[in-house]
């Protein structure tokens, strides 16, 4: 009896203690990325490093928040990705998956997240369908998308006289979406698309595709690809003398890591759109220094920044809700809370899952303009958040029509 009383007292004391302090929150995050192939530099281990930083920063002064993290490689195969996602949600009890720099895999995992009622934050993948025709109530699209890229780089190229286009497109969900969105922008701004050719994902030899681009006599060769494919196609375009012949290249999706890999002599003059660049302000520079402790000699991409910001906002929402909310509830909460983090500043998540923030149109510096390692870009324009992304009504997302 005495023991029981003391037990009860202890329980009450504990209950009072937790109620008095904050609620205990335990979460598990899965970082799924391309760890070994063509997108490993834009996401991959850099995303894992960013996730670790986000978790460390958030839990530093909050002993009531416990965060576990696992990471895995989706090998750019949709079946591997959905298999891994199933296993993480079912067996490893992961609450949220983040990153996935491959739209094909991201679309598959978004399905799994919806089915299991968990959460998926897309930082790496680009297809605007993720917050458009294939949106769902368990997916948030954080960093950027193909509509925003087309609206940035595509528009700028047409406005500066590049009115005839030829597309070199990676043959899967991402490339198709980027080509479609850019095509629309080009036509809308009075340009013309002369042709397009599709290349397999992760190609080494672009010669036949580049020759077709050359033969088309289009003023602009639009590269609707990413990562290793972009690096290879730009390098090989230089060897074929495409730019020397008077055609210009539009890298529709170029990351800081791609510019580092290409080197400024090859990449100079490229116009590109990003939502985050490490050298824009002091906060970003300080964050980059810390990131580089784990990734020495590399420069973070906007995807890495998106992973950090996405996890930060997720943990904020989780802490404010307490308990163990399901995927739809936490997604709702994240949409209703304004976002605020050191990398993207203040922003919001729309009903369709699209995160809204400013975008920047950059130009790659000439080698002589670059003063220190990583000094890649000069800013040509800032596109305000309200204009940077596809208007809510045009995406065709079912979540929007409902309300």
């Amino acid at each position: 009896m005495k023991r029981m009383i003391s037990m009860t007292a202890l329980t009450i004391a504990l209950a009072a203690g937790t109620a008095h302090a904050q609620q205990q929150v335990t979460v598990k995050i899965g970082v799924m990325s391309d760890m070994s192939s063509l997108y490993a530099d834009i996401g991959g281990p850099g995303s894992v490093a960013a996730a670790k930083m986000a978790i460390a920063d958030y839990t530093k002064d909050r002993p009531n928040v416990k965060v576990e993290m696992i990471s895995g490689d989706h090998q750019n195969k949709p079946d591997v990705g959905s298999n891994l996602a199933n296993q993480w949600f079912d067996v490893d009890k992961v609450d949220m998956i983040i990153d996935i720099p491959n739209s094909g895999v991201a679309l598959a995992v978004s399905q799994v997240a919806s089915q299991k009622n968990k959460l998926f934050i897309v930082s790496g993948a680009a297809s605007s369908d993720l917050s458009g025709s294939k949106c769902n109530a368990n997916t948030i699209h954080w960093t950027y998308d193909t509509w925003m890229l087309a609206n940035g780089t595509g528009k700028a190229m047409v406005k500066t006289g590049g009115d005839t286009w030829f597309f070199l497109t990676a043959d899967y969900a991402f490339g198709h979406a980027l080509e479609r969105d850019t095509d629309a922008v080009v036509v809308k701004n009075g340009g013309k698309v002369l042709g397009k050719v599709r290349h397999p994902l992760n190609t080494n030899d672009f010669s036949s595709f580049l020759l077709q681009a050359q033969a088309s006599k289009a003023k602009v060769v639009g590269l609707a690809n990413a990562g290793g494919d972009t690096i290879n196609s730009i390098k090989q375009a230089a060897e074929f003398g495409i730019v020397k012949g008077g055609q210009s290249l539009a890298g529709l999706l170029v990351f800081a890591s791609d510019v580092a890999a290409l080197g400024l002599p090859t990449a100079q003059g490229l116009a590109l759109t990003e939502t985050w660049y490490w050298d824009v302000n002091d906060a970003n520079r300080a964050w980059t220094k810390r990131w580089q402790v784990e990734r020495p000699g590399k420069f973070p991409t906007m995807i890495h920044a998106g992973v950090y910001a996405g996890i930060t906002h997720y943990l904020k929402a989780r802490e404010s809700m307490g308990g163990a909310p399901d995927g739809k509830a936490i997604t709702e909460k994240m949409k209703s809370m304004p976002t605020d983090d050191i990398l993207f500043g203040k922003g919001e998540i729309r009903a369709d899952g699209r995160k809204i923030h400013d975008a920047y149109l950059f130009e790659v510096k000439k080698p002589e303009e670059s003063k220190y390692p990583g000094d890649f870009y000069k800013t040509r324009a800032t596109i305000p958040a309200a204009e940077a992304f596809r208007p809510l009504a045009e995406g065709g997302c079912s979540l929007v029509n409902k309300s």
Binding site: M35, P78, V80, Q87, V91, S103, Q111, D171, Y172
Partner: protein
Amino acid sequence: METPRATANTPSKTGERIAFAVMVAALIAAPFFAYPLFLMQALCFALFACAFNLLIGYGGLLSFGHALYFGWASYLAAHSAKVWGFTPELAILTGAATAAVFGLVTGALAIRRQGIYFAMITLALAQMMFFFALQMKFTGGEDGIQAVPRGKLFGLFDLTSHMAMYPVVAVFFLAGFLIIHRVINSPFGEVLKAIRENEPRAISLGYKTERYKLVAFVLSATLAGMAGATKAIVFQIASLTDVYWTMSGEVILMTLVGGLGTLFGPVVGAITIIAMQTYLNAFEQWVTVIQGTIFVACVLLFRRGIVGELARALKIKL
């Protein structure tokens, strides 16, 4: 025909029966201990390996293109379930039927040659069909066919949960397994083994060996297709991984590790390889290296495979 069958009956039949009983018991108990999705994957590959083993283990034909039947059946099953709205069992049968047709066409071409040439022809045809899968519209290229509904069995039972799906997969696996068992223990199977041992002698005895080989090929392709189609419904995705040549290689590996020409070998081999891929996932790209090492060890140390060596040690047929 009567005498050898009679002598083979007594000790070996009991061994086989015990092994079969153990397998069925394990099938029933497993979902309560292990992750059902992993088990379903293992069963799909076990059936695939059994189908492959029918051809090489009993017909002596090494096909290097079985991914063609596995992968294309998964595409057709996924497409019929998603676009045509077939129920899962019909979708799986559609997949198997597709594989049968492909098996008939490619088999008729391939069995005209022996040995390495046979393997090369099957590989070439499989790669050709891989590129069709990559380029055709309905397959979705790199993205595959995603969001395939598991649907309702016979239009009645919802298969969305893993525990509901598992018995269906187990039944399809057992059906395939029993078909193979029946085939290899039939007069047809005896002739097939005779062709494997000495084809000219089989011809001289008056058997039209090409017909036997073709039937074995089509059977093997159909069952491989059934495995692929089931996998597509279970994972709700059909993708390029399943038609790529590495898949043809993987099934060879499973069969060899388990034990070529044994009834239970491919099952054990498939479970071993899938377990490695699942539980060693944390090692990322090292998984293939580990797999390779195990394969080398298998070839050097136990050539008959796990089940083959076990059967030899126990002096029974498995």
